[in-house]
């Protein structure tokens, strides 16, 4: 279909994996048969009609290629399933999937944030994750109705300028950030999904009144508004901003690029505070790929021990599968506040956006 000049990059070892493919497909079909017998049909639309594996998978990956490509390569090696991955920012891919609707060539969407997955579910574009698989992730960190599955967790943190402050001088609750002393010194990306789910969490944990007064307070405290988490961290690291509200793993990504010793920015975790909640990244099977064994195999791989360990080692995110240790130096997942509430809930997200818009932040 494409002109040869424009064709995709060379596939990964096509011939060698043919035999593995057969085994892989066999395994997957077996697994599928099992799930078919298990009480997976509890959800309203749990579709497990046996589609045969074609050994190919089209993935929309809303995460960085450099981080995800090696994982996919490993997956292909282990299962023989070829993956055609389309990389893009989660938000753009989400917009793309909404536009494509049921005509999408994608079978699986791997998303940076839960909100995008929630919006697909809201538009009835996803297939249910089989119950046994969905149940492998603790309920706090995945969808409430198995419409998608949580893959990794990232903590909200305060990144601070390590040359200006010691860790003790940095507030351990976001409430202090509305104090006059921090005027003009706090930056965050108000349009970013992870920032918005923190505000949602604030509303759920502390109540609407408190949340509104926080948003009002911070909006009147001359905040530095940015577009992205990474760029906000860069500001702190360059000494141009005192504090930034971001996700923890951006610091580790940057440290991997420039060396941890060269990082001027430092992180402060906020256990127990709504400002320190855990957001999840996740994956969904698109509706027209319901029951596709290749899609299922990939989801299984993401939340397998091997897949989860990969994220721990490479992206320094929290594994969500019980029994895998968090990256060294991070507070435990249990110590961080959790709303017990579906942060992908769109009606709630809309309220958060109204609130931010009301105070001129959006």
């Amino acid at each position: 279909m494409h002109a040869p000049l424009l064709s995709a990059r060379p596939r990964l070892r096509p011939a060698a994996s043919r035999r593995r493919l057969v085994y892989g497909a066999g395994l997957v079909v077996a697994a599928l048969a099992l799930t078919g017998c298990s009480p997976a049909g509890t959800g309203p639309k749990a579709s497990t009609e046996a589609i045969e594996s074609d050994g190919k998978l089209t993935l929309y990956a809303g995460r960085d290629e450099a981080l995800i490509a090696p994982l996919i390569e490993q997956f292909t090696e282990d299962t023989g399933i070829e993956v055609e991955a389309r990389y893009g920012p989660s938000a753009e891919l989400n917009a793309l999937l909404l536009e494509e609707g049921e005509k999408t060539p994608a079978q699986v969407f791997l998303s940076q944030d839960a909100g995008a997955l929630g919006s697909l579910a809201n538009n009835d574009l996803v297939a249910k994750i089989p119950a046994d698989l969905a149940d492998s992730i603790p309920a706090d960190y995945t969808s409430t109705d198995a419409s998608w599955i949580g893959v990794t967790g990232r903590a909200r943190v305060i990144a601070y300028d390590g040359k200006k402050f010691t860790e003790d001088e940095v507030p351990d609750t976001v409430d202090e950030l509305t104090d006059a002393g921090w005027k003009g010194k706090v930056g965050f990306p108000p349009g970013n999904a992870s920032f918005q789910s923190f505000v949602t969490a604030y509303r759920v944990l502390e109540g609407e009144m408190a949340a509104e007064s926080w948003v009002k307070g911070i909006s009147e405290n001359a905040p530095v508004l940015t577009e992205k988490n990474g760029a906000t961290l860069d500001l702190v690291d360059a000494g141009q901003l005192e504090l930034a509200l971001i996700n923890h793993y951006y610091w580790y990504e940057k440290a991997a690029e420039v060396g941890a010793d060269n990082m001027r920015a430092q992180l402060k975790f906020l256990p127990g505070d709504p400002g320190g909640i855990v957001n999840v990244s996740g994956a969904a099977i698109l509706k027209q790929a319901a029951g596709d064994p290749d899609a299922l195999a990939f989801i299984e791989y993401l939340v397998s021990e091997k897949g989860q360990q990969y994220f721990v080692d490479k992206t320094f995110e929290y594994p969500l599968l019980p029994g895998i240790d968090a990256p060294k130096g991070l507070p435990t997942l249990e110590s961080l506040a959790n709303t017990g509430f579906d942060l992908a809930d769109l009606d709630s997200l809309e309220k958060t956006q109204e609130l931010l818009a009301q105070y001129g932040l959006l």
């Binding site: 940057k254 690029e257 809309e350």
Partner: protein, 529 residues
Amino acid sequence: MSGLNEPPTSVPEPNSTSSSRRPPRPLLLLAVLACLLASIPLIYLLVRVGGSGLDDVVRVLGRPRVPRLLLNTVTLAAAVTASTVLLGVPTAFLLARARLRWRSLWVVLAALPLAVPSYLAAYGWLAAAPTLQGFWPSWFVLTLVSVPYVSLPVTAALRAGTSGLDDVARTLGRGPWRAFWLGTWPQVRPATLAGALLVCLYVLADFGGVALFRFPVLTTAIQQAYGASFNRNYAAILATVLVLLALLVVLGEQTARGRAQRQFGAVSGVATRRIVRLGRWSAPALLLLVAVPVLAVGVPVAELFVRLFEAETLRALDLANLGQALLNTLALSAGGAVIAVALALPIGALAARYRGRLVRSIESAGYLALGLPGIVVGLSLVFFSLSVVPALYQTAAVLAFAYGVLFMPKAIGAIRTSIGQVPTSLEDVARTLGYGRLQTWWLVTARLARPGIGAAALLVMVTAMKELPATLLLRPTGTDTLAVELWARTDVSAYGAAAPYAAALILVAAVPAFLLSGAGRARTDGTPA
């Protein structure tokens, strides 16, 4: 106004655009078709906005932040447009009319900023001076990279024009500035306006540059709306506001261009060009010629090279991957250029030869897509290709078509001007010799207008190479262009790894920029207008 446009000599009007003649039906049909294709993004927006209720629209527009976004957008667009004209016209005058050593070098340098995407220029400046943010840096960088949109067409107009009318004004006792104003300015005004129009629309739609400097405008808000609200209607409403702004700009340019659009270049007898000695103006003139390219290209490129030669970068460089991305970029942007020119030809031909409300509407509608952010155009073509040609979805064909639609407006001006400069009398002669309409068009008009058409294609190509948002949405899965590779690397703050791709992008885009400068040609009437 008409006084300025009427030269004091009685010049025959070889190109009297025939408002009396009606456009031939096939041409009109083709132009309408091209215009419809170019309007796909607008139709899509209407569908989306139509999908949201009136109260949605009121609520979105009533947000406290919206007036500020609107003000920022308008101020930035106006400021950048004004400054590109103030820098571009004198630059063009120097290139076309001043005694310069190494003229070809200066001409090439003047075109080079075209090769630098706004996001790269912004990135380079941020790397050099990390504290830059807000309005002024956005204005500064966007001005730098957009000056060629004005300086190139004005240079071409000056070269095609005459200084004879200035001389007439001087003999009638006017000072040199006044004489320039009376004699030369009317000749370059259409080219200046056309360039300013492109700059203004470009600024309205630009996202990359302003986002890096954290200057909130409508495009950043649109991107944000796609980013987190998952409410596509909100984004569509903001994009519609942007289209309305673009419409105002296009109509403004049409009004300013006025009715009398004389083609002095073809006037025989007065087509002399006096070359000015710079004298004590040499130093400031050289400063102007050097400053823009150095600030627009030199600083970001230097910043890149520092990173490029860090050992780790070179070790990690995957040459095959870089080569593939380069080929993809070339092939896709060339395809886009062909499609853009095919779409722009009937519209440009119509606008060059005929007047009337219909012709004006077709031309303005053709321009509007340029005022839209790439993500909106990209999504509209996802929607369109899936419903009309699903077999072609996510193929190179649709992406090239997207480039064509996105950047066709850049081709319209150049084509309109170059066709307008072909004397209709030549066509009449061909007709009386028994050539058919098509034959005449092909053998006379198209042949004479060829340099302008080529320039239009180059301009589209150089822009398409830098395009990112629509590319991300529409490219065939697994096909990467240089801009996509660059994005993938800057997003993980792996700036070092991004450097080779950025350097390749600037280098490859410099080729059409070089050709556009016309430095390689003896006659340079082909630069875009």
